[in-house]
């Protein structure tokens, strides 16, 4: 389009230099190579715009693509998180897919929260895709308020087992991604009871479905929770456990432990179990910045294609981006996208420092990072949702069409205001840290 070409000729800087600042030189090169691989591999493409598909067709299409994605994974010749994440976003887009939680929660938690023996047993199977796992924490009655979760895990020393149970209807696990139809294992968060004492929420590996038939195991009631505001390609599910017995070794025991005779060993820092949440919230900040960057890209490019009205009568219709109101709708969001992008990079750097420190049992960064990642997740998700909506409205009527991809993007992004912790609760967690300081 000549209008866009004209815009590109106005650049006062080398665009790739800025892309290198955002992605790093190496990752930018990988992106280009990965994009070319995907473009030339029809198996990785949608046979049909997904927006025209039913939920069942979307889930099946995503399952087909994720299997193809894993088949061609070696071709990208990288195990870097950002390369794989980009490869996945090119193929799967933003509406979710069958291995979402497996990659972002199940595998990282097996890496971070298991002891050596458990890691040997479970991690290889998860990475090879022999098992598909999710993370089941949120319940019908409680989500963010982890301390009040009702699912129980009672230790039976005689049989060296935990009995995992959903005692009430509100204890039904509800919302976890890929819980409904896809996963055959889950890391279930339950209140730990040993010899009548409650030690608070802990994490347990529970098998949900038979590894051959994929049928739910005895004591397991499981299914999809139905259509949502967005991310409808994800089979968010419900789970009820009826006194399901699991071996003692299936409690994640890197930090807290239960010995064979039923003795509870406390973690070095009460918030260590929050490591997984800090990681996910840090990833979320960067992902949300990308969502806003996508919306700004759509809004600003289209605002240079769309001509409406004349500023000076008789001078011909102008690009809508010449109007100050259009700039005021879009440019602050563009600036925010960059600001959130760099904040996401920074928090991931701090997270890496946290992990190094934890390996030397230094935990002083943990409270700060827990508070900061909570605050960032709350502020960024809210500002990004508002920003996407501004970009969508800047596209006029066509922003209301799924052809713009902005309604689906908004539906995906705004979920971030409640999942991984309700924004208000997270702000209060940050405030508690500030008051303590």
């Amino acid at each position: 389009n000549p209008d866009l070409s004209q815009e590109r000729r106005k650049a006062t800087f080398r665009v790739d230099s800025l892309s290198e600042l955002l992605y790093g030189v190496e990752h930018l090169k990988s992106r280009r190579m990965i994009a070319k691989l995907v473009d030339t591999t029809p198996e990785l493409h949608d046979t049909f715009p997904t927006t025209f598909m039913s939920r069942e067709e979307k889930v099946e299409n995503a399952a087909r693509k994720i299997v193809a994605l894993m088949k061609y994974l070696p071709s990208i010749n990288s195990f870097k998180f950002e390369d794989i994440f980009y490869y996945q976003s090119l193929v799967m887009h933003v509406d979710g897919h069958p291995l979402s939680l497996h990659g972002v929660m199940f595998v990282p938690l097996l890496m971070q929260q298991t002891d050596e023996e458990q890691r040997q047993k479970w991690l290889p199977r998860a990475i090879k895709g022999e098992i598909i796992g999710t993370y089941a924490q949120t319940e019908l009655g409680h989500g963010t308020n982890v301390r009040q979760l009702e699912t129980t895990a009672t230790y039976d020393a005689d049989n060296e087992q935990f009995i995992v149970n959903s005692p009430t209807v509100t204890s039904t696990k509800w919302w976890p991604g890929n819980l409904g139809k896809v996963s055959n294992y889950a890391i279930v968060v339950a209140q730990l009871y040993v010899k009548g004492n409650c030690y608070g929420p802990h994490q347990f590996i529970v098998q949900l479905r038979d590894e051959n038939t994929h049928l739910p195991l005895p004591g397991i009631t499981i299914g999809d929770i139905g259509p949502k505001f967005g991310i409808n390609t994800n089979d968010n599910g419900f789970l009820r456990l009826n006194n399901v017995r699991i071996p003692r070794k299936q409690m994640l025991m890197r930090y807290s432990k239960v010995t064979q005779n039923g003795q509870y060993i406390r973690p070095i820092h009460e918030k260590l179990g929050y490591g997984g949440m800090v990681f996910v919230r840090s990833v979320m900040v960067s992902q949300q910045a990308l969502f806003l960057a996508i919306a700004c890209t759509v809004g600003i490019r289209y605002s240079c294609v769309r001509r409406q009205g004349e500023i000076t009568p008789g001078s011909g219709e102008v690009k809508v981006l010449e109007y100050q109101t259009q700039q005021y709708r879009l440019f602050p969001q563009l600036a925010r996208a960059y600001a959130c992008w760099f904040a996401g990079k920074r928090i991931m750097t701090l997270y890496a420092e946290l992990l190094d420190g934890l390996n030397e049992n230094k935990t002083d960064l943990l409270p700060q990072l827990h508070a900061l990642s909570s605050g960032l997740k709350a502020v960024v998700t809210h500002q990004v949702a508002l920003g996407i909506e501004q970009c969508r409205m800047a596209c006029g009527g066509h922003g209301y069409s799924n052809a713009s991809a902005l309604p689906e993007l908004y539906g995906t992004a705004v979920g971030g205001c409640t999942y991984e912790g309700d924004n208000i609760v997270l702000l209060l967690q940050t405030a508690r840290f500030l008051m303590k300081m």
Binding site: D16, S17, Y302, C304, Y328
Partner: protein, 219 residues
């Protein structure tokens, strides 16, 4: 709060050191001196400190009046959230400013400096109520008006680079999945093509018409 400062100096962490630093009582933002990002960041710090210490004092006073800590926190929870947002906004603003300061490519640094100026000024204008409400004369209405003019000027400066700035996000058409945002800008012809894929367009006459509307219209 003053007492808390004395006690907590040594435990100040990376992200909260600003709470215990002395700060100017008046902002030096004005149209007669160069607008340095540091004076804008200082305003973010001021808002965060004031909101944090004000709510801290309110909680302490409520506790002195006999409330439990939990009751006092609940009665102050809206202000606690505002304080957290201000603390987080400061981290984002500081990180942006630090990142821009390290850019070595001169042309990229120039355009990103405009972006950062727009971000910082626009965020402060959005927090203007908080700044002016603090009733400590740190900030004036003229300074808010000046920042608003800085926003308009920054938008004007950014305008020629708007498309290159979004191209730099390097978002592939396949990832964006948007007809409006296509890199080649050929929107309208592709919108028409896209619409024709709608399942409703599989046949010219749909079942709904054949089964219901047609007979109704003929009766």
């Amino acid at each position: 709060a003053k007492m808390a400062i004395a006690m907590n100096m040594q435990s100040a962490s990376v992200t909260t050191k600003y709470l215990f630093r002395d700060r100017p009582t008046k902002s030096s933002i004005n149209q007669y001196s160069a607008l340095d990002h540091s004076v804008l960041i200082e305003a973010f710090e001021h808002i965060a400190c004031r909101l944090i210490f004000t709510v801290y004092n309110r909680i302490e006073n409520l506790k002195k009046c006999g409330r439990t800590r939990e009751e006092a926190c609940n009665e102050c929870s809206v202000d606690l959230c505002k304080a957290s947002r201000a603390h987080t906004r400061l981290f984002i603003a500081q990180t942006l400013s630090n990142t821009i300061a390290e850019i070595t490519d001169r042309n990229v640094a120039a355009v990103m400096n405009d972006v950062a100026t727009l971000y910082l000024a626009h965020e402060l204008v959005e927090c203007a109520a908080g700044l002016l409400e603090l009733s400590d004369d740190y900030f004036s209405g003229q300074q808010v008006a000046y920042l608003r003019s800085v926003v308009y000027k920054a938008m004007n400066t950014i305008r020629p680079n708007a498309v290159p700035l979004v191209d730099a996000f390097d978002i592939n058409d396949r990832e964006m999945n948007s007809v409006l945002g296509r890199r080649d800008g050929n929107v309208y012809e592709n919108l028409l093509q896209w619409a024709q894929l709608s399942p409703l367009n599989k046949t010219d006459v749909i079942t709904a018409y054949i089964k219901h509307l047609g007979p109704y219209m003929k009766q």
